[in-house]
């Protein structure tokens, strides 16, 4: 807030916002928690991954859900401390730029954009599939790459982009209500499933076993890392809880706590629901080709029966809509941040004069998402859901991993000052980053055998019989490239030449120096665009 009294003139000093009278920053711990959990979208995440995790690791899904929590919790420490240093940040892009350098920072920003793009086809398909299930059109819903599901998926992206562009927001109370309903429905589903399993008479049901939580039961290690990469995705999004900085009452502390709490809430949901899901009809039910893509619908129908299964479908849809918004908004803001710091063309920072949204970035992201979604449906029919979700783990591991390393780098002078520092600023972020890197590398080898990814056969578009089965036979088998690898790692790699070209043409951003934390507690000086020498 800026106040000028009496005379004409506008100061542009924002720092004293809270001190000058008008109250700002009303968003506390609960709201941050809600934002973190809603962004992670538990119902949608389960709908998208539960079946596929079981494909790779069988009854060990709950163990994978637990294991994937470890690197995410460790990276949460990195978010927490980087956020304390840099509360008015653009997250990973600015942090990595600050700590490791502009080239790596640019790639981290690219990683965010690519990861956001990769998830869009999955979100759109899930939205399409569950919309048709909601209205009982199961035949249409079962063809997840069919014309009608794709059509609804495209409409979904367009509507969500418009909502972000115009800036329509639900009230805080509505958000709490929707999220509360989502969590209660998931827990009810789990409790009812388990109660019915224990009362007997359910076909192929199995009683939960502690061995399901034992990660050493998972073989081979490639399957474990594939499952882990999938499960990492289900925790993706809670980082939003630490980036709602300035809204929090104490912006340097509350958001980090909200992120930690939201992770714990999510952990409970994921482990309990995955245990209940596989108990009910066994793993075979979840992994058969009819159910693997929309496992929550199949199980919801079996466990809850009609019409109560609609509750679960609605929970998945509200969850997917929150998740779509929390994909488009940060994607647009990331590209805005990059443009503000001259790492992308200026237009990406354009603000719509009336709606005050990052107009150009938002529309472009929506448009690219639609093109990408339709292209993927044409190229890889029948396995859009599978391959997009498998590919996603690479992007997440990439930029979360970088965030972990950035924390260690940035605080390197303080890591050995005390035990607490060592554990939370050094060890945890480092371990998290190393785990994600190892997952990334193992998964590359694992997916490089196309046998380990889903491959499609039929294209709904009659003139294009161009599909991954064809590609496998002619290219991938020899060169060893599965679709998730091409999508996940390929898109990240495309960033490299783009970055180098941008660096040659617009060197300003890349002349930035690395920084190191002076203290652990005090905020770092803002990473202002003005610091960079402007040469373009």
């Amino acid at each position: 807030m800026t106040i000028t009294t009496g005379e004409v003139g506008v100061s542009s000093v924002p720092e004293d916002a809270a001190g000058k009278g008008l109250k700002v920053g009303a968003l506390g711990m609960i709201s941050s928690l809600v934002i973190g959990v809603a962004s992670t979208a538990p119902a949608y995440s389960l709908a998208a991954t539960l079946g596929f995790v079981a494909v790779y690791v069988g009854v060990s899904s709950p163990a994978v859900m637990l294991l994937a929590f470890a690197p995410m919790l460790f990276i949460a420490a990195a978010y927490y401390y980087l956020n304390r240093a840099d509360p008015d940040c653009g997250t990973t892009f600015t942090w990595v730029t600050r700590a490791i350098g502009p080239k790596t920072g640019w790639m981290a920003g690219w990683g965010i954009l690519v990861t956001d793009l990769v998830v869009m086809p999955n979100l759109a398909s899930i939205a399409g599939v569950y919309t048709f299930h909601l209205f009982g059109a199961h035949g249409i819903a079962n063809n997840s790459s069919g014309f009608w599901v794709t059509f609804v998926g495209v409409v979904w992206i367009v509507v969500m982009t418009a909502i972000c562009y115009i800036g329509i927001e639900l009230s805080a109370r509505t958000q709490v209500g929707l999220l509360g309903a989502e969590i209660i429905i998931l827990f009810l589903f789990a409790v009812i499933a388990l109660a019915r399993v224990y009362s007997g008479g359910i076909a192929h049901s199995i009683h939960p076993s502690f061995q399901w939580l034992n990660p050493f039961k998972i073989h081979p290690v490639g399957a474990l890392s594939a499952g882990m990469l999938l499960a990492v995705f289900i925790y993706w999004g809670w980082d939003t809880a630490v980036t709602v900085n300035e809204e929090a009452k104490d912006s340097r502390r509350t958001p980090g706590r909200a992120a930690l709490w939201s992770t714990l809430v999510l952990l409970a949901i994921y482990v309990i629901v995955s245990i209940a899901a596989q108990s009910f009809h066994g793993v075979g039910f979840m992994t058969n080709s009819n159910n693997v893509g929309d496992v929550l619908n199949a199980l919801g129908t079996a466990v809850l029966g009609s019409p109560w299964n609609k509750l679960l479908i609605i929970a998945v849809l509200t969850s997917a809509s929150a998740s779509t918004q929390t994909t488009i908004l940060p994607a647009a803001r990331s590209s805005l941040s990059m443009a503000v710091h001259k790492a992308l063309p200026k237009r990406f920072a354009d603000i719509h004069p009336k709606y005050l949204s990052p107009g150009f970035s938002t529309i472009l992201f929506g448009a690219v998402s639609v093109v990408w979604y339709v292209a993927l449906t044409l190229i890889s029919p029948d396995d859009v859901l599978a391959n997009s979700i498998l590919a996603l783990g690479f992007g997440i591991a990439f930029y979360y991993g970088l965030t972990g390393f950035a924390c260690v780098f940035y605080y390197r002078r303080h890591i050995f000052k005390g035990f607490k520092n060592f554990v939370f600023i050094g060890l945890a972020p480092f371990l998290g980053a190393v785990m994600l890197t190892v997952l990334f590398v193992i998964a590359i080898f694992y997916y490089s055998d196309p046998v380990n990814s889903n491959s499609g056969s039929q294209a709904w578009f009659p003139f294009i019989h161009f599909n991954f089965t064809f590609l496998h036979q002619h290219f991938y088998v020899k060169k060893g490239l599965g679709p998730p690898l091409v999508l996940g790692v390929g898109l990240l790699l495309i960033g490299l030449p783009i970055m180098l070209i941008w660096r040659i043409r617009h060197p300003a951003f890349f002349q930035r120096d690395r920084e190191v934390a002076e203290t652990v507690d005090s905020p770092a000086p803002p990473l202002t665009p003005g610091v960079i020498p402007v040469t373009d």
Partner: protein, 142 residues
């Protein structure tokens, strides 16, 4: 400072019309005029920092133009500019409370009631929530 005239300004035609009326009202009551621009990115999605500073700059420019406009209409009027990091309605209510405002002046949205209903219209919300009188000025009023 008390008894201010609080004006919501967003650069729209309605708000320009409201500016002219607000200056007249301020003059009539011999009260200071507080011109308010409110902005708040949806906290969903995070990564608001650079976005916020960009919005703040837009707000500064917009209010700068409004202050100049007010001075051009009446050089004697006492003007205060407020760029508030809250949603428009909240920022107006906050400013009204803080300045013990006599009246809040805003521009009308014109003949698009359905759009207002869907997107949420600032004057509409103010009419329900404001503790002080609200003056809604139709666009085109000079």
């Amino acid at each position: 400072m008390a008894g201010n005239i609080v004006l919501g300004y967003d650069g729209s035609d309605g708000s320009k019309a409201a500016l002219a009326v607000a200056v007249t009202v301020a003059r009539a009551f011999d009260a200071p005029l507080s011109i308010v621009f409110g902005y708040e990115p949806n906290p969903m999605g995070g990564e608001t920092a650079d976005y916020k500073s960009k919005l703040e700059r837009i707000g500064d420019e917009m209010i700068g133009a409004a202050v100049a406009g007010a001075k051009a209409l009446d050089p004697a009027v006492v003007v205060e500019s407020l760029v508030v990091p809250l949603r428009p309605v909240e920022s107006l209510l906050e400013a009204a409370l803080e300045r013990e405002a006599r009246v809040i002046v805003v521009g009308g949205t014109g003949e698009r009631p359905l759009v207002g209903a869907i997107l949420g219209s600032v004057p509409h919300k103010l009419l329900y929530r404001s503790p002080v009188p609200v003056l809604v000025v139709p666009a085109g009023e000079e």
